[in-house]
Symmetry: C2
Subunit: 292 residues, 2 copies
């Protein structure tokens, strides 16, 4: 079997980065996977679980031979780290990221790395960047939770722009397909609007619900509270960056949510049971369109 990549560098070996490494290794798609991180313990863990073949704390050294670099660091660090990667990696390399927001990241990197018209791109230049976001993950963090099948049958959004070189877009899509994912192409803006609705607002709501529950009552909470608030246990710093970065779209999703919430309030205040039933049936119908 011909390896798809010779050397892949993964910047940030947490749940997603570790799973990218594991999946590439288990599927025989990469000869070398270099894990780049700041904490020796995480790097050791990533080596132990087979997610990477070698590790380094030096970004420049880690990406020096890479033909693919996947940046898996928190949203707030991605732009600066991709720029640093682009300085140090071979000019033929493809750089992608897995950030949960795309608009600001892709705009900044397009401006810095991709030419206005990708058709006149010169052969000798700098590495190219295409944004990605796997809609997989959990409230768990760290390489200990990495799984080779994390992306199988899960959606990965790839966010090309007019500045993205078509070959780089094809390679990015090919990467995620080779890990088993269903790839969806969206503009960075359409992506951010989507994830505001299906991920960022649910996170905010789960967190607000957990906070609003009197601590003395939580020990008696059953399955409903448990499920509804689960994601609130995720890393607060990571989610601060995500919500802040995407706050325009999140606020619009919050508007929609508060409108529905206000109709629930009205139905309860007036004890309008017919309306309450219609509201609950709408929620049930939306929920059931997804399955368990």
């Amino acid at each position: 079997m011909i390896k798809q990549w010779d050397t892949v560098a993964v910047v940030g070996v947490g749940l997603i980065g570790g799973s990218v490494g594991l999946a590439l290794r288990e599927r025989g798609l990469a000869e070398h996977v270099v894990g780049i991180g700041r904490r020796a313990a995480s790097l050791r863990k990533a080596r132990q679980c087979g997610a990477v073949t070698r590790t380094t704390t030096s970004l420049a050294r880690g990406v020096a031979d890479a033909d693919l670099v996947v940046v898996c660091t928190p949203v707030g660090n991605i732009v600066s780290q991709v720029l640093e990667v682009a300085e140090a990696c071979p000019p033929s390399a493809l750089i992608t990221d897995v950030g949960s927001t795309k608009q600001h990241i892709v705009e900044a990197l397009d401006r810095a790395l991709n030419r206005p018209d990708p058709r006149v791109r010169q052969e000798v230049g700098r590495a190219t960047f295409v944004g990605s976001h796997p809609l997989a993950g959990s409230e768990k963090t760290g390489p200990a939770f990495a799984r080779a099948d994390l992306f199988v049958d899960r959606a990965v959004v790839v966010t090309p722009t007019r500045r993205s070189p078509p070959a780089a877009v094809r390679r990015t899509i090919g990467l995620w397909k080779s890990l088993g994912a269903n790839v969806v192409e969206k503009s960075p803006q359409a992506h951010d609007q989507l994830v505001a609705a299906i991920s960022h607002l649910p996170h905010l709501v789960a967190s607000a619900l957990a906070t609003a529950t009197p601590p003395r009552d939580i020990c008696l909470a059953a399955g409903g509270w448990r499920d509804t608030t689960r994601v609130a246990a995720a890393d607060a710093e990571l989610w601060k960056q995500i919500l802040s970065d995407n706050r325009g779209h999140v606020l619009k999703s919050l508007d929609s949510f508060e409108t529905v919430l206000a109709t629930f309030r009205e139905a309860l205040e007036s004890d309008d049971q017919d309306r309450l039933l219609l509201l609950l049936e709408a929620g049930k119908q939306h929920r059931e369109s997804l399955g368990n």
Copy 2:
């Protein structure tokens, strides 16, 4: 082994009623379990899975020999059905229910069945009622999902009042303990306040969140949306009755939730990242006090 009960009648053989029957049978606690329901298909299913030893569609015939009657019907039917049970069952019988709200149900049934001072209760009288609510269950309904261990290590709230005969309260607590549950005693009002916070508000929020999500985006929803909206798939008619019956407490819980939501909105609108982080950390801390 001495059976704890000779004949137990279960009114409504859905998830909870079926699980009560299964648990009593598997633990050898009841000689006979009579399943009472309106739909032949559910009654047949309950017989097939071993939750009941016989079934009937006649409430009066079903409870005629019962020393314990557990009413597992939707909240809106409980008062009238318990009154009907009390007319037809032996005067020594204990009646309890599993309704998700307690204040209105217990008030009405106390007035009708229990004497103002239970110490002067005459030997020959009517059956007594004590309210219960197992904090177990799921968005699934029907006897097919019944499990003998549904109550093991789960909380069951028993809601005695000043009118509840102490012996009946002891028997009710003993019932749930014998099925493996952790019994918590609360006043009906304290119960309703509790479940508004840990169950009814989360349900309303999950439903509103599902409805607020654009249908075209739902197919891409990942774990966060999936968990946060799961309970919205539950039976809308049942939940209409619950939310309507407990709307006073649910509206107060909604106030608390909206207050937290408003602070999230302010933090996003002003991009106050320090405040956003504090809010997310509070949600994480509340959520982690429960565990997975």
